[in-house]
């Protein structure tokens, strides 16, 4: 069944049609029989009137002006072999049998219904006849008049049923609309003004599910915060001890260098995994606010300027202020990942260009570098978790865990933004375009 509304419309309409039309046929048959008996009694009355109006016992000339071609009358003598008087369109002989009552006879290519009455007082026979086809048409005309509204009522019923069923299904439609319009972070219960009994269980179950989901998200949120704290602290302690060990044994000691790299990598991995978790699009706890993309990028570049300076890279920022609805932490993480990637993969003395400007589809954040770029064939795969270009063999010599672009993708999805990877027209390296959609732009 594709649609409940359509099913109800068709099933109800078919029921109404079937029941009405079958009763209509029965009604038609009995009305026709009734009309027949009415015509018969009229025929009988006409015979009686003729009997009273005319008392001729001998041959007479009938002088009617213009007679109805569908009826005739005859008056025969007692034996029925002499026609005393007749209408001009009547046959000159007796049709059918000479006995009191109704008879169907053939005359002038038509079937006629005649009524034969014996006038015992004047000892003669009175015959009155009507054409059957005309009686039938007249009767049908009358009966049809009463049947037409039943047939015309069907399309009207269809309209009424369509709207009535739509009204009946409104709570369900409202329920579905509320569910489909819920934001990913909205786990509040669904409220309907009047919940029909059929929907009560569904609404209650859905609300209880939403409540449990919210509790589960809260638990996970707390776990993530605790885990971040619990993991960060030992790594920081490890770094301090490593620094002290480096001072004592010499920083160039090969084991110390490898150990430092390992601890750096572990610290980075922990930070990235936590960022990945916090910025996941199905993470309902993310709150949106008005964020100026340009200012966010500006402050992050300023804060990390040393990193670029160490590699003697030039980084410049173009554009103007654009405020969008975003999660600040997530947006910062996205920008950090993009500029850190640019920093990592751009060789020393390379160039990095960042731009924030209005785009026809929204606000564009562009990060370009003069690094090796990403081959077109691999551009889809770099968003996969732990996917690293050339495996571990990139020659940047920097710590990486293959989560950076996955996080960027998560954050973009969270903001309904699109990401395009391309080749930088200026530096020849990677160009990352993140377009935040128009509806994310704050008008406040």
């Amino acid at each position: 069944m594709k649609s409940i509304r359509l099913y109800l419309l068709l099933a109800l309409l078919a029921t109404i049609t079937l029941v009405n039309f079958v009763s209509l046929l029965h009604g038609y048959q009995s009305s026709m029989q009734k009309a027949e008996s009415l015509f018969d009694s009229r025929l009988k009355s006409t015979a009686m009137l003729i009997k009273l109006a005319n008392s001729a016992k001998q041959n007479q000339q009938h002088s009617a002006e213009k007679e109805d071609p569908y009826t005739f009358f005859q008056i025969f003598n007692e034996s029925g072999n002499e026609l005393i008087i007749h209408s001009s369109n009547a046959p000159h002989i007796m049709l059918g049998e000479l006995s009191e009552g109704f008879h169907d006879v053939n005359f002038a290519s038509y079937r006629w219904r005649n009524y034969v009455h014996e006038d015992t007082k004047l000892q003669r026979w009175i015959v009155v006849a009507e054409r059957i086809d005309i009686r039938y048409i007249l009767a049908e005309d009358v009966v049809l008049e009463s049947l037409v509204p039943i047939v015309l009522a069907i399309p009207v019923s269809a309209l009424i049923i369509w709207f009535a069923v739509g009204l009946g299904l409104k709570p369900l439609t409202l329920f579905a609309t509320q569910l489909s319009h819920k934001r990913v972070d909205d786990l509040s219960p669904i409220t309907l003004e009047r919940v029909p009994s059929e929907l009560t269980t569904v609404v209650n179950s859905t609300n209880s599910l939403l409540l449990r989901l919210e509790e589960a998200f809260d638990r996970e949120q707390r776990f993530s915060a605790d885990a971040a704290h619990e993991l960060r602290t030992p790594v920081s302690v490890l770094k301090v001890h490593l620094h002290n060990l480096g001072t004592r044994l010499g920083r160039q000691d090969e084991d110390i260098v490898l150990l430092t790299e390992g601890v750096e990598r572990m610290g980075h991995l922990i930070e990235q995994i936590l960022a990945l978790y916090r910025t996941s699009p199905d993470q309902a706890a993310v709150k949106f606010e008005q964020v100026d993309v340009f200012k966010t990028v500006q402050s992050l570049i300023a804060f990390n300027y040393d990193t670029f300076d160490r590699k003697q890279q030039t980084i410049d920022l173009d554009g103007e202020s654009h405020v969008i609805e975003a999660n600040l932490f997530a947006l910062e993480t996205l920008v950090m990942n993009l500029i850190n990637n640019a920093n990592k993969y751009t060789p020393e003395q390379g160039e990095i260009h960042v731009e924030v400007k209005r785009h026809e589809l929204g606000v564009l954040l562009r990060v370009e570098d003069s690094g090796p770029g990403i081959p077109e064939a691999q551009r889809e795969r770099v968003f996969e978790r732990f996917y690293r270009l050339h495996g571990d063999r990139h020659d940047s010599g920097v710590v990486g865990c293959g989560l950076g672009l996955t996080i960027v993708k998560h954050i973009a999805d969270l903001h309904h933004a699109t990401i395009n990877l391309g080749t930088s027209a200026n530096g020849g390296g990677l160009r990352v375009d993140v377009i935040f959609p128009l509806r994310a732009i704050s008008h406040a």
Binding site: M1, Y7, L10, L144, V148, I154
Partner: protein
């Protein structure tokens, strides 16, 4: 006149709506694209109108037996399409057979709607020049069509509400009965065209169920009921159904062997 119009229109509409609702339900069970259904219905109605418009020239063909011969050919083609359907359904996993099932059903529905539609159209338009009867015929036609379509709607929902296994089985049975009915009617048309000689009826059950009663029309549409069938009609009815069953079973057996 109203009752005559009801019976004639009901007979045609009921037959077409049962075939169409079986087609709709089977398409849904086999998860076929619905665009075919609208295509088949529209094409069937257009072809029916064309057939009705050109009926006088069609009748003149084959020495005046053109209409009967064309009708018999259409019924035979519907039967052949149903045979193709029966053979193709068990091999749904192959694209060729998947397309064959839908094409054969579309073909059967288009032909059936063309024939039944043209007959209804011819009957009703025949009374345009008779104003005393036209209203009655129109009303009778509406009542007949209403009853026929309503039965079709119920039949469709009955089929899709059944379990898929039973629904497909019932769909097969309906198509089997329609097959028998098609060939029995084809033989009747051929007898009218004097291709087959007409013989005495094998039995006469008109006193039990008259072909002109509503139940008679329902049975006619559903199982091809004839109150006074001739021997050739009975042979065609049973023979065509037997061939349908043989093809359906052979096709299923072949599929099981491949599996």
């Amino acid at each position: 006149m109203l009752l005559n119009a009801v019976i004639i229109v009901l007979r045609e509409v009921l037959e077409a709506s049962l075939l169409a609702s079986t087609f709709l339900a089977i398409s849904q069970m086999l998860q076929r694209d619905r665009k075919w259904i609208f295509f088949a219905f529209s094409l069937g109605l257009v072809m029916g109108s064309i057939y009705a418009l050109s009926i006088s020239s069609v009748s003149m063909m084959f020495g005046g037996a053109g209409q009967e011969i064309l009708n018999a050919s259409m019924q035979t083609l519907i039967y052949l399409s149903l045979l193709v359907f029966a053979a193709a359904v068990p091999h749904q996993n192959k694209p060729l057979f998947r397309n064959l099932t839908i094409i054969s059903l579309v073909f059967a529905v288009v032909l059936s709607l063309s024939r039944e539609g043209s007959e209804v159209l011819l009957f009703i338009t025949g009374f345009i020049g008779v104003p005393t009867l036209f209203n009655s015929v129109l009303l009778g036609g509406a009542v007949g069509a209403g009853i026929g379509l309503s039965v079709g709607v119920f039949f469709y929902y009955l089929l899709i509400h059944l379990t898929p296994r039973f629904g497909v089985w019932l769909g097969y049975v309906i198509l089997l009965l329609i097959s028998g009915s098609m060939m029995s009617q084809a033989v009747e048309f051929m007898m009218q065209a004097d291709i087959f000689s007409s013989t005495a009826p094998v039995w006469d059950s008109s006193s039990l169920i008259s072909e002109r009663s509503i139940s008679g029309q329902l049975l006619y549409a559903l199982i091809g009921y004839e109150a006074t069938p001739t021997l050739s009609q009975v042979i065609a009815y049973i023979g065509s159904m037997t061939l349908f069953i043989v093809i359906a079973i052979t096709s299923s057996t072949l599929r099981e062997k491949h599996l």
